[in-house]
Symmetry: C2
Subunit: 331 residues, 2 copies
């Protein structure tokens, strides 16, 4: 995989996945431009890119800004299209920003590709959320799509625009359906991005965190470096064009076992089990874990970092840098 | 089914399906309000409702007008939510109006229901287009969703908002996935709504119409009265709440056989076979016919009007009223 001197645009570039991707690509000699809206509730944090800040271009703008995107897309070899509204609860409380970011902006990005840069390669970050409550496990890419909230519907639309622009116009797009991704630079300030974020923060702060329900729900997790690997692999391999791939882990883990591993990783901490809050229960999907065999078979990808190792690295990162991620904010 | 004195709102009410539904409901003594944008390229035509014009309320406005919709939805017992952008080609040439009408406006209609009239019953007109190229035939509701154009994606989002607002908020919604609906008051001015429209116009004008491809493609058709019956049935039966139902016909018919039946119905006319235009080929789905067994089993619906009989009634209608549907327009 050679990215030296290639022109690369990353939307959501100051966020969790975008910044980790940017670090690898800058190290590989790529000419990287990041787009990030820096909306406080979302994942962008300039500390995420501090180590590479003078070796890339940072463009603070919003993917909803059609004119900015039209300009920024021109001349790029690759687009890692990661910007999104990720809060399920927000999407139900006010569905319009979610629609604008996760659906409409995706359409305008693809229109810009079609009209101004049809040779670009696009890797789109989608989500397991589209499957809804699993009808069978593990969930493969043939599983029916059955979103359970407005966020899932809008992400579904955004994903399908990518597929249709491939099928009809030949734009080289790849869709990755991510599961729970974690690691350094994730949003840990609150529970907006993933419950693991707030768990990590609490443990680092020496405070108890909460596990919802009976703790037996199964989940799968990918450490950020494995997700970045999958994206780079899909970017450079034409066999991925027009495809949807699940990411996933070798083994599912219960919430309670995850909590125990986190305590082990931190060598400290405690948690309490509490019933599901009603608003979360309404959109909860029960057990989930993915079958990522399609990506393994086609491109040889499989995750390398075990959950305990990933959690250990994550806790270490936030112990060192907590002042850059939540500072003095009280929860 | 008693609609006497019930308050009913129909979006797309001056269009093909909306106007036929309105006629039946007004005859049944309902208090009907129609919303129609009267955008010339869409299906609204005031002649459609001429026979009932003084027995209903016509509100010319656009489903994209959130404030109008919020007001109009209040106090209604039923919403037949039929307004849509239906042109596949338009959705590819300029995808934004399609997104605004078929996705965003649906979200704001449902938000208005949730906040201002949560007891309303909503029947939503979706489309077989969501299934894309069939993976098996006949296509039942379990068939994977696989839209082939932007219109299909936005309709998919609009449909799923209805389902999520049922599942999460308990709004009583029903989704009908329509196949080719035809009959009096359909748009025949051009091919925007369905190829059958332009066929009927040509035959009535005594001009040849065109059949794309080899004419062997299979389709299923529903006469408008059968579709209206399905909608009324779903409106009044709580077993339909939160469900998706296919409509469909007893037997699929090839394009060529359809063309021959149309000539028989008109007792005149001719057609020519031509290769698929490239822009249509790119979004063509091959054979399609639905399994409507779910609606048959659950609510006892099945189509009553044979294709030849339906075409005969349709041709008769347009022979009588052609000046109200295309006047002197040249094609």
């Amino acid at each position: 995989m050679c990215f030296k001197n290639r022109n690369i645009l990353i939307t959501g570039g100051a966020g969790f996945i975008g910044s980790n991707l940017a670090i690898q690509l800058v190290e590989a000699g790529a000419k990287v431009t990041l787009v990030d809206s820096m909306i406080p509730e979302y994942g962008g944090n300039l500390f995420n890119i501090e180590s590479i800040r003078d070796r890339l271009t940072l463009n603070i703008s919003d993917v909803r800004d059609e004119h900015a995107m039209k300009y920024l897309i021109q001349g790029q070899d690759f687009l890692f299209n990661l910007a999104g509204q990720t809060s399920h609860l927000d999407s139900m409380q006010n569905p319009y920003p979610d629609l604008e970011i996760n659906a409409r902006a995706q359409l305008s990005i693809l229109e810009a590709c079609r009209r101004h840069n049809p040779a670009i390669k696009v890797v789109f970050a989608s989500t397991r959320q589209l499957y809804g409550t699993p009808q069978y496990l593990p969930v493969d890419e043939q599983h029916p799509i059955h979103p359970v909230d407005v966020n899932g519907i809008n992400k579904m639309a955004g994903e399908w625009y990518h597929l249709v622009y491939h099928n009809v116009y030949g734009i080289r797009t790849v869709v990755l359906r991510l599961t729970n991704t974690f690691g350094p630079r994730m949003r840990v300030k609150d529970a907006r991005q993933t419950f693991l974020g707030i768990w990590v923060r609490r443990v680092v702060e020496g405070k108890p965190f909460q596990v919802f329900g009976d703790g037996l729900q199964l989940r799968d997790y990918n450490y950020i470096d494995d997700v970045v690997d999958a994206m780079l692999l899909c970017a450079t391999d034409s066999r991925a064009d027009g495809q949807i791939f699940n990411l996933g882990a070798e083994h599912p883990v219960s919430l309670k076992a995850t909590a125990d591993l986190l305590l082990q990783a931190a060598q400290a901490g405690r948690y309490e089990m509490i019933p599901f809050p009603a608003e979360r229960k309404a959109i909860d999907i029960g057990d989930y874990y993915a079958d990522f065999g399609k990506l393994r078979r086609l491109l040889g990808w499989h995750p390398q970092i075990e959950l305990l190792e990933g959690l250990t690295r994550t806790v270490r990162f936030y112990k060192e840098h907590q002042n850059c991620y939540w500072g003095d904010d009280e929860l």
